[in-house]
């Protein structure tokens, strides 16, 4: 009894081969593909045509929210909740409120960047089928992997296997769900 198939994984020896294989796989019409490498490769992002502009928007939102909250905190405490005359300075001392506002802007934006990155990447994810692939542990060391998922509309086990073999990988393997 074998587990259902997640996809097919090809292992490559160097980044150049992986980028080339990723480009040809996408050009062949596969859509549910992903590549795994031990360090970020800019050309791979282009080869897989990855366009994701959500994160900068999330960070901008976080920063704006942080700035508003910071200023609101200063204003509300100093003007409404606890008006305190300090050396005759106005209750609404805008220049003095800039510093806490600035700090909360950075703080919220940084949290938005980190949590946004993790959430968009679906992390933490302790289990993922690709870890079932033998030798996948090398993806964090010195090997490069390309995976075509079984739910890709164009996926056909034997045909896709033959296609991946043509790309010149070191080995092609089944990945169980």
């Amino acid at each position: 009894m074998t587990a259902p198939l997640y996809g097919l994984m090809a292992e490559f020896e160097n980044p150049q081969d992986l980028v080339e294989a990723a480009r040809r796989t996408r050009e062949a019409g596969y859509t549910k593909i992903d590549a795994y490498s031990p360090y970020p490769i800019e050309a791979l992002t282009e080869a897989l045509d990855i366009h994701d502009r959500k994160l900068p928007a999330v960070v901008l939102g976080g920063g704006l929210l942080g700035g508003l909250c910071g200023y609101a905190l200063c204003y509300w405490t100093s003007v409404m909740a606890y008006p305190l005359n300090v050396g005759g300075k106005p209750y609404h001392s805008a220049p003095a409120f800039i510093v806490p506002t600035f700090e909360t802007t950075i703080l919220f934006a940084a949290f938005a960047a980190v949590l946004g990155m993790l959430a968009l990447n679906g992390l933490p994810m302790p289990y993922h089928p690709v870890f079932n692939a033998p030798r996948f542990a090398l993806a964090s060391r010195d090997r490069f992997f390309l995976c075509i998922e079984a739910k890709d509309p164009k996926f056909d086990h034997d045909e896709t296997w033959a296609f991946l073999t043509k790309l010149g990988p070191r080995v092609v393997m089944d990945v169980e769900e």
């Binding site: 490498s37 905190l73 990155m117």
Partner: protein
């Protein structure tokens, strides 16, 4: 290779070619990963590690003793009194915060400037930042006198119906330093996730797999993940850059907003920031020199790195020197009696030995770095870095103590000196710093493995179709 000026963007790719001065030749993805991962995963710990950790641990015990006695007796055990109400504790706070700044400069500003040489030193420099900020944070917390009520610093709805005064630089400090500590820790942790995944995959022991596996959060090196990861790193660097400049600026406001001669100066924010980076790079060198020796990392932290750091040390040292000159000039040019007296008092008053020592340490000592021979001589560089660390501590001592000891009214003058408990707390905090740092280098990747892989010649992918 001669790069006196920062490399333009196109140059950075070429820095990774064989013979790059930032990485010894002959490494591959495999050997580089194994060598760097083994530092944390190896069963064998270098003898020097035990020595360093023991020193750090012993000094931390001394810190705990001094703090316990402080909690028992109150801050009367310290030397602070009228008129010098700010002593060692504020000096040490500013000194430690300043040291932290180099880590953020290396990890954020040099990332934005695309300086590939930062890749091998950014991780432990960031760790240094976090531990330095932790040591810094101790001081104001203890200095409040009743540290168990320190949560009053945070604005929160309370039964007293009271709120902090947002017009005070002291509350700005609370916001700046706590934001700095939080963002630095986030940046540090996010930077480590891919390397933690490497350690997870290389670990043999169950506890190591669980520890690193948990911390790596299931990172699998997906191209989609890397894309967002790189975006997040750049954005964090862009956020950390103004943040780090703001932190020492706000610290300088603690002084500049006061009217005491020697504090009330508009040059303070840039002068403090330059001094912070200056002190921080001295500390990075102080740490990098023994670490590369103990762990045999000369292939990764090369003489070129030493050379570059020495140049930054020299440049920021000159900015600090300019700050001293401007302080003296403005005192003279303002025509203000008290300002003029402040400089005279520094040069000839009761603390003159410290001021002259400061001028020697911060102005004369680093001038040796003009010579390439000194910049590439590791022991000499270590000595210069130590001199600068001492000099920057003296600088804060002069600013804080000398200004307070003789202000406007001679009848309220008074002298200050640290007591044994001041010294124990200070040296103990250095011990805490050492202990945290040694724990870090033993269990976490102290050099960014994935960023080093990107420097390898084989990492290069040519853009054109073959």
């Amino acid at each position: 290779m001669n790069d006196e000026t920062p490399a333009p963007l196109a140059e950075t790719a070429r820095a990774a070619r064989p013979g790059s001065p930032f990485l010894a030749p002959g490494y591959t993805f495999t050997t580089l990963t194994d060598k760097l991962a083994s530092i944390a995963l190896s069963r064998r710990t270098p003898k020097a590690w035990f020595f360093g950790a023991a020193v750090g641990f012993a000094l931390t015990m001394m810190l705990l003793f001094a703090v316990t006695w402080l909690l028992f007796r109150g801050i009367g055990i310290w030397g602070v009194n009228q008129p010098v109400g700010w002593g060692f504790e504020i000096v040490n706070f500013v000194w430690w915060i300043g040291i932290g700044h180099a880590g953020t400069l290396i990890s954020a500003i040099l990332l934005l400037l695309r300086q590939p040489w930062r890749n091998s030193i950014n991780r432990f420099a960031e760790a240094m930042t976090i531990f330095a900020v932790a040591c810094a944070g101790l001081y104001p917390a203890l200095h409040t006198g009743r540290p168990w009520l320190d949560y009053w610093l945070i604005p929160y709805p309370n039964t007293m119906g009271m709120w902090p005064n947002f017009r005070s630089p002291l509350i700005w400090d609370v916001f700046a330093v706590s934001t700095y500590a939080t963002v630095s820790a986030l940046f540090w942790y996010v930077g480590m996730i891919p390397d933690l995944a490497t350690l997870r995959d290389r670990a043999k022991k169950l506890w190591a797999k669980i520890l690193y596996g948990g911390l790596a959060m299931g990172w699998r090196g997906s191209a989609r993940h890397w894309h967002r990861y790189e975006t997040a790193s750049l954005l964090l660097a862009g956020l950390a850059t103004p943040l780090v400049l703001s932190v020492h600026t706000v610290v300088s406001f603690d002084f500049a907003a006061g009217i005491v001669p020697g504090w009330h100066a508009t040059i303070f924010p840039p002068y403090f920031v330059a001094g912070a980076i200056y002190a921080g790079f001295a500390m990075v060198l102080t740490l990098a020199i023994p670490l590369r020796k103990i762990y045999g990392l000369q292939d990764f932290i090369t003489l070129k790195h030493m050379d570059n750091m020495a140049k930054i040390l020299l440049a920021t040292g000159l900015i600090v020197g300019y700050g001293y000159v401007v302080e003296a000039f403005m005192a003279f040019y303002s025509g203000n009696t008290y300002e003029r007296f402040m400089i005279w008092n520094r040069l000839h008053g009761p603390y003159k030995h410290m001021y002259w020592a400061l001028l020697f340490c911060n102005l004369v000592g680093p001038q040796a770095l003009w010579f390439r021979k000194v910049r590439r001589n590791v022991p000499a560089l270590f000595v210069v870095a130590m001199i600068v660390s001492v000099g920057m501590w003296l600088e804060r001592y002069i600013i804080v103590v000398v200004s307070l000891s003789r202000d406007f009214l001679p009848s309220s003058w008074g002298l200050y000196s640290g007591t044994i408990f001041d010294w124990m707390t200070y040296i103990g905090s250095i011990g805490l710093f050492i202990a945290l740092l040694f724990l870090f280098i033993r269990i976490l990747p102290m050099i960014s493995i994935f960023e080093m892989r990107a420097l390898l010649p084989e990492a290069k992918v040519s853009e054109e179709e073959p």
